[in-house]
Each structure stands twice: as C-alpha cells, then as structure tokens.
Symmetry: C2
Subunit: 390 residues, 2 copies
C-alpha cells in the first residue's frame, strides 16, 4: 500500500507521450501542439486601414480631392498626388504613396472634396504589413493547448494542418455477474451497470472519442481473453470492478498472466483503496474499484493525469485551491480522504453521504476536499485543500 | 450606446429557454434537466453485503457452519439456522434470515467451520434495501447540469431516457469581400477568414453540435437573403463583420429589413464597441465586430451567457474572481475594457498586444481583466476583477 503522492508520481513517470500525428486545424480543439508553429505569411499581409475614413499622404494640407475608393478586399496600388486622397474602409489596402488614414467622423465631404477637421498624426490608423506577426516568426510554441483562439489564429495565418500528440484509444472493461444493462428488467440480486457509461462520458468530456466498452463475467478465462485483446489494441485499459480480495476477483490475476507489470496495488486512501496500476509496453492499465463513486474519484485523481500526460499536457494534475471549511472535521482513518464537496469564492462545504457506492452526492459536487492521511483534526473555518472538478 | 451591465441584462431578459425534448441518458452530457428525476427503484434494490466475508445472524455465537455462497449477482433466499453462515462477496444478496457480515480478514475457516476472531457489531457491513435512495424519491432536481456523475447515477437507477432543454442550432454568417479560405492562395488585399472556424470551435467546446456556416459578399441583397433563411431555421444567428459605420456594412440594414428587432447597438467597451443584438421571434441575433479578437471577446462575454440561458443553465455568466494586478494601469478611454490576461492562484498579468485584430495574445490568455469604464487608475498589486475563460 502506498500513499497518494507516491501513486501520482509513479503514474506520471510511466505515462509516455502519445505518438504525433498530422490533423486538420478545424479538428484540433483540445489537442496539444507537438511542433512550434511559424507564420507562413506577414500579418497583416499588406498595409491596412484600421478605420473607415480617408487615406492620404500627411502634409500641411487639410483639403484633398477624393479620386477613388478602397474597400476591404480591393487591391489597386494607384499613385496619388500630394493633394489627392481615397475613400477607404476598415481592413482595406492602403496604396503605397499614402501613409495616414483620417476617421470619417473627423471630415467633411463636399463634391468629392474632403476637408479634414481634426488632423490625425502622421501614420495614424494604418496597420503596417507584418505589424502583428512576420513571415517565419514564432506564432505558437510547441506544447500549446489548442483552444478556440489558437484555432482562429492559425486559420488567419492560412494554416490548415498541424502536428499534435494523438489522443489515446481507451478500452473500458466492466466485470461482474451482477450487472444488468439499464433499460432491461432487473432480477433479484442484480444491479444496473453504470460505470461504463459514466467513464465513457468522463472521457468524452476531455475530448477522447475512441472508446470501446467490453463486459465480462466473473470468470478468469473470459477476463484473460478480453484483457489480452484490449492490451494489444488500446492505449489505456480501464477495468471496473473485480480488483478487491474476494475469491471471485479475477482481474489482477488476469492482468499479470497477460504480461502486465504491476506498478502499484492499493493506495492509502478513501474511497478507492484497491486501485491497481500497471503497464504493458506503453499501454497503461487502471483497475478501478467497482463502486461507482470510487470509480469516478479514481478517474479524476489518477486516470485523468495519466491521460493528460499522454496527450502532451504540461499541467496534468487537477488544480488545487484553498477554501475555508464549513465544519469541524476529524480524520482518524489514517487514510487520505477525498470528500465530495461544493465550493464557492471563499468557502467549501462537505456534502452529505460520502458513500463510495452512490453517485447522488457526486452529481452535486464541484470539487473534492483532500484531507491528508496524517491530518487528524480540522477546525471549522480552517483553510483546506480543494480540488475543483468539471 | 449602452454600458456593459445594461447589455448583459438585456441579453438575459431576451434569452428564452429552448423547448424541451427527450434524449438518451448516454447522450446527455452538458444538457440541463428539464424535469425532476425520481428513482424508479430502491437502491440498493436488495440487502447487500458491503464486504467480502461471511454473512450470519448476530448472536452470542462465534463459530458457524458455512453452508453456502452468495456471489454478486446470485439470488437464493435460503433459510439458515442460528449457527449457520454463508460465504458472501461485496455487492451480493444477503438472505433475509441473516443480519451481519464479518470481513474475511477477521475470521478463520477450517473444514467449512468459521471462527470469528473479531466480532463486528450487529448489522455491520450490510447495506439495507433503499438505503441510498428509495423508489419514487427525488434523485436529481430539475435544472441540474448533467455531468458524468449524474449520468452514472441515472444509469445505476436504470434510467435510459430523460427530458432536457434542447441545445440551440446556430448559424454563423461571415461577411467580407476580403476573406479567403485558409489553404487557398492569398491575393493582394485579401486576408484569411478565421472567425467562422473559431466561433464553430468555441460553440463545440460547450457542446453545441448543430452549427452551419454561411459566407456572403458585402452586398445588401445577398446578405438579406442569407439572413432571412438563417432567421427562420436557427435559434441563434452570429454574424461576423459588416456592422460598423462604413458604407459597405450592410448587416444592420439587412437584419432590420428582415424583421429583426434591435435590442441594442454599440456598447461602451473596448474591444467590440459595434456589437448589435436583436431578436426575431425567439431567434437571437448577434452581429459581432469582424476583428478576430473582438469577435471572440464578444462571444465569451455576451453570446455564451445567451446560449447558456437558452440551454437552461441557471448560472449563465462567466465567473468573476479577484486577483492582484501586475502593473499600474490607466484607463482614460471612458470605456469598459476587457484585457486579455493570464492569472494564477494570487496574481493576474495583462498580456502584451491587446489589438482587436489579432488572436496571438488570446491563444495564451486564460482570462480577461475587466476594467470598469469609470475606473481611471489602478495601482500595481490592487485587486482587479478577473474573468476566467476556457
């Protein structure tokens, strides 16, 4: 049995980055860049008006003849005399003989003759070519998380394909003779199977799409066979149930006999003590306790960091914040506790019903309170470690 | 021109909840429940062992004959004598004549005769039928946001279909003769179109899937026609560009002539001043300034709350937190500023390059700093309002 921090370190050290692959920018939300991106163009690609108004060559003159128009998208590099100007719109090309744009609100126009009532400074309202970024200049660093702004940025530079770390393929293996699919009749002694749909949803929430679910009976041979295929075809194998000490818990044996190296088994924590972590080649295996709330706690605390590390994230653990707790609390278990909780800007409350079997509290929680194994007493209003989820 | 807070109030008051619809629980992540959920079953559905061990009827006896086994999923309501016990596993049915389970670690077994070395209290390690939730008891309240835990919870109660608020269908309309699709050759005077892919991604990030993109030239007739169709077929119409005061900005005219009621036009803010908000029936229209960073800022601050209100969310605005700013800052614009920023546990830094034309800063930002229009001076280390994004 190891402590929580040791478990997290072992997971981090054994989670290798996924192979890189080229994907379309339009499909890249939530991926991590596996290359630095350099701009293929100057941006703006030409001298551009930043206003609707008139472009002219700045001098002592205040009156100009308006001889042409430059709308966004136009390109006509006409040569103008010193006393000539053009009507121009935001984003439009500024001919090379002109240097300044005056806002239309600061002008009067009469019969194509422009009078500037409030003279701007030279070069005002003109965006220079490459002012924002120059060709071959660094646009986005390697290991950047791709968000909507990054996608927009790459698109505005004309980039359509990039290299990222692949997202892992995940197998969910659910064990237990007692499990019945929701929607079916529930015979006496059976319960509805909910872990696979819950894990699948939690995986989808971080953008993982390649997920397959397998159900096996509590039977060594069947478990071994399913796990063998999963270990060769997936990057992660998440097994739900069958990992405690009962005679009918075959999972650990089935994993080891398939060549999985045990990296740890059992963590000094509640919920989720009988957690198994192992690997075969680069495939990671988590065998999670079958109780739904234990499964989901283990997912957030242990599986998610491993997924993020493999996806190329630099910050892989859930963030930690401090909040004032709502009650006195005693932890005599000697175990690290992950308590389902609700936090706001200043405080955190322990929610009722911390049972590892049920998810109702979890559905209302927005955080865990993490109580270290060696902290016995917490007083009301004391600051505690809060780990936001969702 | 109105202030930011007025704009947000007008948006909130005009965003009606979407119609309700039945969907599968497995597809319900990120939806809001439009009904309260009552449990269709007792959970656990029967008296269940919470441990691997032996079930017996608690008395003064410490030795028992083990006559049978109850594995998870089994159902055999055998009657036992006072000195008989059964081998039992976590989650398994406890026959009605038995009341207590002893952990196997606290027993010795010899030739089917069990000796209890550490006697548990009566009723220990037995989960009663309906202990977690009873049939017809409230499971999840109306207006609950459906997260992985809620999906798992509903599945474990056997629920497969629920009623939620529909997600809106969104049309993105991009205007501008200057726009070229990324990947194509970029003629002089043109720029790459990036707003549609950026908005599409930002919509997908909150789980909206039904998104269509339309591109129109700067031309009143074409703009009117496209908008007419969008107004009848979509719940939101997001127009990018064509809303400032230039002669070639047709969007407002095209909207009004299609029967859109103007609810506001122009907000006293930077970036994103020329923002138009209107409605036709229940369809909401945002015409966003075309500069990419203005577009995305407007999306997060104004469009997102409207989407969330329609999707049934109760907390619709981005959360606000306080952090210490990294520099002295002066706002003489008289406008509310949304500055792209990066925050951590205690501080916030204004990022370089706040231009509304470019997204590079945005790609690195994890928040806005909101500087109110009437606040001129902020001193270094002063607490400012930070609005996290992503």
């Amino acid at each position: 049995m190891i402590q929580v921090e040791q478990a997290l370190t072992i997971i981090e050290n054994n989670s290798l980055k996924m192979p890189i692959r080229k994907i379309k920018v339009s499909k890249s939300l939530g991926y991590i860049l596996a290359e630095a991106i350099y701009s293929p163009i100057d941006m703006p690609p030409f001298r551009q008006s930043a206003m609707d108004g008139y472009a002219f060559s700045h001098s002592e003159l205040t009156k100009y003849e308006v001889i042409s128009t430059s709308q966004a998208g136009d390109y006509s590099n006409i040569e103008l005399d010193k006393n000539q100007a053009i009507r121009i719109f935001t984003g439009a090309f500024v001919p090379s003989t002109l240097d300044t744009v005056v806002m239309q609100e600061h002008t009067t126009l009469k019969d194509n003759y422009l009078e500037i009532n409030k003279m701007p400074v030279p070069f005002a309202n003109v965006r220079n070519q490459g002012e924002q970024i120059k060709e071959n200049q660094l646009a986005l660093e390697k290991n950047t998380l791709i968000n909507p702004a990054a996608i927009g940025f790459m698109a505005c530079l004309g980039i359509t394909e990039i290299t990222v770390y692949a997202k892992p393929k995940v197998a969910i293996v659910v064990t237990g003779n007692e499990l019945v699919k929701p929607g079916k009749h529930l015979p006496k002694g059976k319960i509805y199977e909910s872990n696979s749909i819950m894990l699948k949803t939690a995986l989808r929430a971080i953008g993982i799409q390649k997920i397959a679910t397998f159900k096996v009976k509590d039977n060594l041979k069947a478990t071994k066979k399913v796990l063998k295929n999963c270990l060769s075809d997936f990057d992660f194998v998440l097994v739900s149930g069958g990992i405690s000490v009962g005679d009918y818990d075959f999972v650990k044996e089935a994993l080891l006999s398939n060549g999985v190296e045990e990296l740890f088994y059992k963590i000094n924590q509640k919920p989720g003590k009988p957690l198994f972590f192992g690997k075969k080649d680069e495939t990671l295996v988590f065998a999670l306790p079958g109780n739904p709330a234990s499964t989901l706690t283990s997912f957030y605390v242990y599986v998610l960091p491993a997924l993020k590390k493999r996806m190329g994230f630099e910050a892989i653990h859930l963030p930690k914040i401090k909040r004032k707790i709502n009650i006195d609390f005693t932890n005599t278990s000697g175990k690290t506790l992950f308590l389902k909780a609700f936090y706001d800007a200043t405080n955190v409350s322990i929610l009722e019903s911390q049972s590892s079997a049920m998810l109702n509290t979890f559905a209302l929680a927005n955080a865990f309170i993490c109580v270290p194994h060696n902290q016995e007493n917490i007083e009301k209003e004391e600051e505690v470690m809060v780990i936001p989820i969702n």
